[in-house]
Structure formats: structure tokens, C-alpha cells
């Protein structure tokens, strides 16, 4: 799973969001490191939808524009949990190798 896809799925983990809402949430989650352009976002959304990890939730009119909301599917939730566990396990190994494991436990 790419970093962008991981952040998009995480942005949808606590509820449905529309396109620009996902962009903002991803920027916040990544502390500004990942700033998705719209072309990149919809590349990721299209791929995630094709893989059955997200699906449309509802549409809402806002200032004359139609916002489509997306939500995680059950498969998407499972894939995100699996990826999060994988990344956490990797991070634990890295921290241990850097001698930071004790610091984490103490902190």
C-alpha cells in the first residue's frame, strides 16, 4: 500500500469525507508532509474504489457544487488495520535497532 493510499484510508477511518475534506485531513494527519493535489487524490480514490476498499457514501450540495462523500468498506477497514499493524511492527524493529525501544517504554 502506498503512503498516499494509507493516509487516504486513515482519513476515512473515523467517518465519510468528501474530496477536499480528505485533502485537508491527510495534510493534518501527516503534519503537513503530504499535501495531495486533486489529480493525485482522485488517482488514489479511483484505485481504492476499484479494489473495493472505499465506496461512495452520499452527495451533498454546497455553494451550488455537489460534494460526494466516500467511506471505508469493511474490506478497506481490514486492509487499513493490517497495514497499520505492519507499519507499527516495522517501526518497533527500527526503534529497537536504533536503541530507542527503552526510551519509548520509559516515556
Amino acid at each position: 500500500m502506498t503512503g498516499q493510499a494509507f493516509f487516504v484510508l486513515t482519513a476515512l477511518a473515523d467517518g465519510p469525507r468528501h474530496g477536499y475534506g480528505i485533502v485537508g485531513e491527510v495534510a493534518e494527519l501527516s503534519q503537513g508532509r503530504v499535501r495531495l493535489k486533486i489529480g493525485s487524490l482522485y488517482g488514489v480514490l479511483e484505485r481504492l474504489a476499484a479494489e473495493g476498499l472505499i465506496e461512495p457514501d452520499r452527495e451533498e450540495a454546497h455553494d451550488g457544487r455537489l460534494r460526494r462523500y466516500y467511506r471505508l468498506t469493511r474490506g478497506g477497514r481490514g486492509a487499513l488495520a493490517e497495514e497499520a499493524e505492519l507499519r507499527a511492527a516495522t517501526a518497533r524493529v527500527v526503534r529497537a535497532r536504533l536503541g530507542l525501544a527503552g526510551a519509548e517504554a520509559a516515556g
Binding site: 502506498t2 468528501h18 474530496g19 477536499y20 485533502v23 493535489k37 486533486i38 489529480g39 493525485s40 487524490l41 482522485y42 488517482g43 480514490l45 479511483e46 454546497h62 455553494d63 451550488g64 457544487r65 455537489l66 460534494r67 460526494r68
Partner: protein
Amino acid sequence: MSGDLERRYRRVLRLLPRWYRQRWEQDMVAAFLDGWLTGDPETDAYISRAAGPGWAEVASVAGLAARLYLGGAGTPRRYAWGQAVRRAVLTVVLMHAVLGLDVLVFLVWSRRLVGWLPAAPGSLVVAPAGVWDTMYYLVCVAWIAIFVSLALRHYRTARALAALAIVPGLVALVQAQVTGMMPAPFGSWVFWVLLALGPVLAMTAFNRDAPPIARRPWLLALPAGYLLVYGPLLALQATGNSAWVPDFAGLCCILVSLACLAHAPRAWSRQADGTGRWSLTLVLLAAVAGANRIVTLTSYVHDRHLIAVSLAELLIMLAAAALVAPDAARAQTAAPAPPHPSAAAV
């Protein structure tokens, strides 16, 4: 309120395939406008007049378009073109890598970098190179790394290295344009656009959706290509027949012609499956080699003999490409796209 801004963004979205726009355009426009508009009519009117999609936004849409047009899945036509572009790019990068290997062999031999090799002929021994020559050698050798990265599926590395590798050629060409003197043995504008910039841009066809590259055959093609191309050329030179050595554009025409002739029996055989995408690749390569040959004809305007030879090379290649063209056309309609990108290697 958002009219002008929306219109500008929709114009950018025309880069995307129609089927994709039907599904996602409204969504993309709404998300894009959400990022710009504030809800205050006066401010929004100003933004709508003054703002537009930035280059990063346009680049993201262009990247998405390249992935959709040249990806692995989709209609047979898109799949065939994607495969043909990837193979054509690999072939052009292979050509650069073979040239790089030749430069490497030349450097190692002429500078006696390997002690046990016999001394190089006097014609191969060169004076210490200047900055531009050194840069040229570095770029040539870098293409070997680019080709290997591509063949090993390290697409990002290959793209980044290739983008860097074409810069010195551009700088040299611009300097030549300004000063009237080419500072290094780099090629012409035609060479740079057709065989450097074009393939680098087309490397966007190597993406996650594309079928994986068959590593082994492509990696073996590097030493094999070197021996097959430079063996005969060296033999011609060693036997005093240098006059028969074609120029670079001619050599490309000859190689594409030979490849078309070698592939033609399979292309005409109804039993052979999946040949059409190779035929399409060869037609693409013939178009590039033909364009290069036509433009380089201008160098020979005062030499009727060389013009005749160059035209003969061009015509022979066109005739050879015509043999595989019907198969290339069939590939776009009849060949089924594999169900999963990993189903067929490039």
C-alpha cells in the same frame, strides 16, 4: 461565481480519458473549487478571475492521465498501446545503454585501465578530456544504470536518473544555439527531443498498473545488443570498409528494419498469440527512427550520394514496417487485455 476558475480547471481535465471524466470530473471540479473558494462573493469573484490551477496541479492531472492511458488494465486498445510504449521506451533506453557500454569499453581500453589488455590502436587513444567530454562520458555511462534500474523495475530511480541525464545535452544545445558552437559531442535537437526527452516523458508508462518487465531477457539484451551492433561495425572498420559504416540515424533504420523482418513471420502466423503488441512496438520505433532519418537528411543536402543512401535506408525501413503494420492494427482491437496487470510481462 466560480465560472472562470472552473473553466480553466475543466480545460486541464480534458487531458483525462473521456470514460474517466464521465465518472470523476464533477467530483474533481468540486474538490478543486473547495480548495480555492471562500464563500465570500466578492473574494470569490476576484479569485475566480485571477486564480488558476498551478503547475503542480496540472502535473498531477497529467500524471493521472498518463497512468490511465498507458496503464495495464482497460480496453485492448489502451493495453496494446501501453505495452507498445513501454517496450519502445525500453528499446530506446537499451540503445542509450549500448552506446554507454561502448563508451565504457572505449575508455577502459584507450586509457589502459585494465593492465592485461593489449594496447589500443592509435586511433582510439585520446587526449585528456575537458569538462564537457567528461560530462558526455558520464551521461553515456549513466544510461547503463538507467536501463538496469528500469529492467529491475526500480521505476522511480530510472525516471530520476534519466531526467538528470538529459539535462547536460539540453544545456549544450542551448549553449550551441546562443554561441553558435557545440561545446560537446552531444547530439542535435532532433536527437534530444526524439531519443532523450520523449523516452523520459514516456517513462510515466511504467507505473504500478503496468505489467511487470521481464527482467532476464531485457538484462541479457544489453550485452547481446552490444555484441550484435558493435561486432559488425568493428569488423567493417577493421577490414578497411569504414565507408560502409552507417551514420547513427541510418543504423537505427537498419536495426528497426532487421527487427521487423525477423518478427514478420510471427506477425503473419495466425497461430502466434500476442504478437501484435510487438508489431505495434516496431511500428512506433520505425516512426521515431524515420523521423530522425528525415530530419538528419538536411545534413547531407550537398551530397547526393549520401542523400540517396539515407533515402534507401528510410524506404527499406518503411517497407519492413509495412509487413508488421496489419498485425499492429489487429492488436488494438482483437487482443484481449489480461485480467490482472501481472498476467503478462513487458
